[in-house]
């Protein structure tokens, strides 16, 4: 079973820096972490490899410093890593990102299964998985909670979609986005850390991917941010006054009033 896991590096905190001209997020690689949602996809991939044999590749598009996170993924059980890194990829929206990822995955060779996190905590779009599947012309399922059975040809999975649990068969190759909390992502082992340091790592630029640069990065992104703003609200909030005890009394009275 050849499995590819897509990983995104995200800022570890909610503090943001914006490029004043392009209004895109500035990423300098400091204090970046693997998108927490992706860690469940990685764990799922490693468990499948342990069960069935095969190979887990991790792929990311990002700045060169993303190598650290990919090596971390290999210390947890992935076998090899590819980083798509080029100035031409900068400023990509989901369409341009998924296009570049599709080229990188094709470069990796044949695959049976692609796993992604359900979404990234910084963008929240949840669009990369389905868009990537479309570029690769394979079926996709979002928010998969459990892999019940898997063969070389197809797999049976359970997904949660709008409060319904669907039990489904999907033909391979396929792309799944993995629900949060379905497993306990493992920590690196000591031998894993040693492996991660020397493990096969490849960095590919747009030329190596034979990418159509008009479909990459800012130029290849249909959407653009035109402005950012701090939301304004004009709601008048009435504050309770007095000592804490008095305020709580007033609060209790107000709750009773509301519940009448």
């Amino acid at each position: 079973m050849k499995i590819v896991v897509c990983i995104k590096q995200v800022p570890s905190s909610n503090e943001v820096r914006l490029d004043p001209v392009t209004k895109t997020i500035l990423r300098d690689g400091n204090q970046s972490v693997i998108n927490p949602f992706d860690t469940y996809a990685l764990e799922q991939a490693i468990e499948l490899k342990e069960q069935l044999g095969g190979e887990v590749s991790v792929i990311s598009m990002g700045i060169p410093a993303t190598e650290r996170l990919l090596r971390d993924a290999m210390s947890r059980g992935a076998d090899r890593a590819v980083l798509l890194s080029d100035r031409a990829f900068a400023g990509a929206d989901t369409l341009a990102t998924s296009y570049a990822l599709s080229l990188g995955i094709r470069q990796l060779g044949d695959f049976d299964l692609i796993l992604c996190g359900r979404m990234a905590i910084d963008g929240d779009t949840a669009q990369i998985g389905p868009e990537l599947a479309e570029h690769l012309a394979i079926p996709h399922l979002t928010n998969v909670e459990k892999i019940i059975d898997i063969t070389q040809q197809e797999m049976t999975v359970r997904r949660n979609i709008d409060g319904q649990r669907q039990l489904l068969q999907v033909k391979l190759p396929a792309l799944l986005t993995i629900a949060k909390d379905i497993n306990q992502p493992r920590m690196p082992s000591i031998s894993g850390v040693e492996f991660g340091e020397v493990a096969p790592f490849q960095s590919l630029n747009a030329a190596a991917l034979q990418a159509d640069v008009s479909r990459c990065g800012l130029n290849g992104s249909p959407t653009q941010v035109v402005r950012t703003s701090v939301p304004l609200r004009d709601n008048a909030c009435a504050f309770f006054e007095g000592s804490l005890a008095e305020q709580v009394q007033a609060l209790a009275a107000q709750i009773k009033e509301e519940l009448k």
Binding site: S13, R106, D110, A137, K171, D181, N235, C237, F239, L251
Partner: protein, 396 residues
């Protein structure tokens, strides 16, 4: 695009085209034909393909004309029972306003296996001028492929300027597939939509950058402009059954290869839906530690309320995702919300803005939660929780 086009969905990876090519420009990768260097557009491979997956496309225009794209569409959605989802009506209400500003028509796309004609009347009553209707048993199950294939076909044929989807799990799975196939932009989870009456440019505003800012996004050179909007964010329109509209019967997508097979559907085991609760007690990071969650549960029990939390608590593992209130969790609309120690990131506020009454407790008077609250109490929320529980117990 000019050149040899490979329909990768129809390609079965048989390799016959690769063998047919005189210059070796076609190879198989990942069980699909891929075009490399050297193609002379001789056309011999077209004949070799048993699935007609190859075509040579010549296009006169280098850049397509944005003027060709007209009208605003809402892709409507039905649940397992075949009932229309409220979010479809919410979107139609908003889209009708946009269509009026733009001076264009409002189209609704509806696919289902039964009852679609009576539902088309409801969509017209909600503001649709046109209903693109496709009734077929292939739409009986909530599986994405026939839906995104149909929507792509319709977009290609009718060329709408804007296409809106409900940001349900299903909508968020279908819409990106359509966007990638049509190679256009898609903005997830918009909270505000505005349109320029002259250019038709859709300004799509959504929370971004960890919820500290709102980003307004446009899609200037690609059509259609696509966006998803969460259920419960937009107001429900008043239905007017005197409105008239046209129903256009559409043909089903052709050449669909079945890749998904539904074995069984059941309601998710946990269905304590905070989305429908009338009273909600919400905890935020200000409660300090996981232990204090029991105070939240105690208060909720006293009031017969559901328990919600802000996202950091779910991320920290103090509560399960099903309790998460906000745009990436559940959008709620209770009669009364009591909020403890929530500062109020934009996504959270977007998810609670339709609450009838919000009472917030936070020790920071500048916390954004107070901007949306009706009553506020500036104090340590754990202290308030403890005293409030005592006070409520004494009264009962």
């Amino acid at each position: 695009m000019t050149g040899l086009i490979i329909d990768r969905e129809n390609c079965i990876g048989c390799g016959l085209c690769c063998k047919s090519c005189a210059v070796g420009a076609l190879t198989l990768q990942n069980r699909k034909a891929v075009l490399g260097e050297g193609c002379t557009l001789c056309g011999i491979c077209l004949q070799s393909c048993p699935k007609n997956a190859l075509s040579i496309v010549k296009e006169d225009k280098a850049v397509f004309d944005l003027e060709d794209y007209k009208d605003i569409w809402v892709v409507c959605e039905r649940n397992e029972q075949g009932e229309l989802l409220p979010v479809s009506f919410e979107l139609l209400g908003k889209a009708a306003e946009l269509a009026k500003i733009r001076g264009c028509r409002l189209g609704a796309v509806l696919a289902g296996n039964a009852d679609t004609e009576s539902q088309a009347k409801q969509l017209i009553a909600a503001g649709a001028d046109l209903v693109y209707l496709c009734e077929d048993k292939m739409f009986a199950e909530r599986l994405e492929p026939p839906f995104y294939r149909l929507i792509c076909d319709l977009i290609k044929q009718y060329q709408p300027e804007v296409v809106l989807f409900g940001a349900t799990d299903f909508g968020r799975s279908v819409a990106p597939r359509v966007a990638a196939r049509r190679r256009t932009g898609l903005t997830a989870d918009c909270t505000v939509l505005e349109i320029d009456p002259i250019t038709g440019l859709l300004q799509q505003t959504r929370p971004a950058f960890g919820g500290n800012l709102l980003a307004t996004i446009i899609c200037p050179n690609h059509r259609p402009q696509m966006a998803t909007v969460r259920p419960g964010i937009l107001a429900m329109p008043v239905l007017d059954f005197n409105r008239s509209g046209e129903v256009i019967a559409c043909s089903v997508p052709q050449g669909l290869v079945q890749t998904l097979h539904l074995l069984q559907t059941e309601p998710a085991a946990v269905s304590t839906s905070i989305a429908e609760a009338e009273i909600i007690v919400v905890a935020g990071r200000g409660i300090g530690n996981a232990k204090n969650m029991k105070l939240i549960y105690e208060l909720a029990e006293l009031l017969g309320a559901a328990v919600g939390v802000s996202r950091p608590l779910v991320d920290a593992g103090w509560a399960e995702y099903r309790h998460q209130v906000g745009q990436t969790g559940f959008t709620v609309a209770p009669k009364l919300m009591l909020s403890f120690g929530v500062s109020g990131a934009i996504q959270h506020l977007a998810g609670i803005s339709r609450s009838e009454r919000i009472i917030a407790v936070n020790n920071d008077p500048q916390a954004p939660i107070f901007e949306i609250s009706h009553y506020g109490l500036i104090a340590d929320c754990v202290e308030v929780l403890k005293e409030l529980i005592v006070a409520l117990k004494n009264e009962s």
